[in-house]
């Protein structure tokens, strides 16, 4: 285990001890190690520096390093926990943790609110939602009349914006999601359950697993 750790720390700035990460997340030690395999492949795809750049992030998600857009940028920003412009292994595991099927609803709700609060004002403004809608329509090559978009926005805000101030605050979001749980679908990645089979790691930690669990 000592070998694994020291090698990892040298080549992967920000690499953290799998046992520590496992204790802070819904992942087991083996799962963290499997995530490390995934992290290695993504972080080395453009520049082999042990960190995930925006380009590498895009490449992994869209198979296209140049494909940039509103949502991808936002997700990248959220994964870039330390705000360094790159995602290190600790950031990666902690962010993916929110998407684990066993992660708390509270975490998922908070993450999704921050995601949609594009400018970070603490409110999801109508104009922001409109912007995101238009981005989605653009991406799908779908054109809707402005009137149709406004009608969708009206209905959404009628339901979500309880105090009618034109914004959705965190509490309103919480209540809105409670009534529309399908909105949190994007916050769960079923793949994370099978991560050890998809990305087998070759480090054996049977003793550590016993201690960790």
């Amino acid at each position: 285990m000592g070998c694994f750790q020291s090698v990892a720390k040298k080549q992967f700035p920000g690499h953290e001890d799998p046992v520590a990460l496992a204790s802070q997340t819904a992942f087991s030690v083996s799962e963290v190690e499997a995530l490390f395999e995934l992290f290695k492949s993504i972080s080395s795809s453009v520049i082999d520096d042990g960190l995930i750049s925006k380009e590498e992030f895009q490449l992994a998600l869209f198979k296209n390093r140049k494909k940039e857009n509103l949502f991808a940028n936002r997700i990248f920003d959220l994964f870039d926990v330390k705000k360094k412009g790159v995602i290190d292994f600790g950031d990666f595991v902690r962010s993916l943790n929110v998407f684990h099927p066993n992660a708390s609803q509270e975490d998922k709700i908070n993450f999704s609110f921050t995601l949609y609060d594009m400018d970070g004002t603490g409110f999801i403004e109508r104009q922001e939602v409109k912007q995101m809608l238009i981005a989605l329509l653009c991406e799908s090559d779908m054109k809707l009349a402005d009137e149709t978009i406004e009608t969708i926005l009206d209905k959404t805000f009628l339901e979500a914006d309880v105090n009618g101030d034109g914004n959705i605050d965190r509490t309103e979001w919480l209540n809105f999601v409670a009534k529309n749980p399908s909105l949190l679908k994007i916050m769960t990645l079923p793949y994370l359950r099978d991560i050890t089979t998809t990305f087998p790691s070759f480090v054996f930690h049977s003793e550590v697993d016993d201690i960790a669990t």
Partner: protein, 181 residues
């Protein structure tokens, strides 16, 4: 050792959802995860069926992190098309079309789940697909067809047929301000 490691890892990476494998394919079943789903399907009679903005936004493939785990492009497992048919008509016609193609249909929570099983081969091949209809406007509906596991080619055939038979006709697309490619 490093070479073999690399090899095995690559193999794993390239066959995350291989329908030809004997074992129960890692079928990504959204249904089993959304524990609150059944409660949510009981909508007030009063509440409009119009899609809400976040449901639509959430469909962005950029918000879909499954790209980390899938080698194939997202278009190989998720497709949408618009239609002027009503939800009821859409569901009925989708059911007809898929049944004719040899699929088995399960209906749940207003969604249609499509399963095809090839029992005559050595290893069972599953195609598991879910279809859902959303209202964009009183005359325009969005159909989303998602594959949870199975043969990509079969999935594409199914999508093409559905989109061709039920989607907004091409000629109309050019005239209308509302269309989807």
């Amino acid at each position: 050792m490093a070479g073999i490691k690399e090899d095995q890892w690559f193999k794993r990476r390239y066959t995350p959802v291989n329908p030809v494998e004997d074992k129960e394919a890692t079928c990504i079943d959204d249904e089993s995860l959304t524990i609150h789903e059944s409660a949510s399907s009981e909508k007030d009679a009063d509440s409009s069926t119009l899609i809400n903005a976040f449901e639509l936004i959430g469909m962005s493939s950029s918000l879909d992190l499954s790209g980390f785990f899938e080698k194939e492009d997202v278009s190989e497992r998720r497709m949408r098309f618009t239609s002027h048919h009503s939800p009821k008509e859409l569901m009925e016609r989708i059911e007809d079309i898929v049944t004719q193609m040899g699929f088995v249909v399960q209906k749940r929570n207003g969604k249609l789940k499509v399963v095809e099983l090839h029992k005559d081969r050595n290893s069972p091949v599953n195609l598991s697909v879910a279809a859902e209809v959303f209202e964009i406007s009183p005359s325009l509906y969005l159909v989303e067809v998602r594959k949870s596991c199975g043969d990509a080619k079969l999935y594409r055939q199914l999508c093409e047929k559905l989109s061709h038979d039920l989607g907004v006709p091409r000629s109309q697309k050019l005239l209308n301000t509302e269309f989807l490619v």
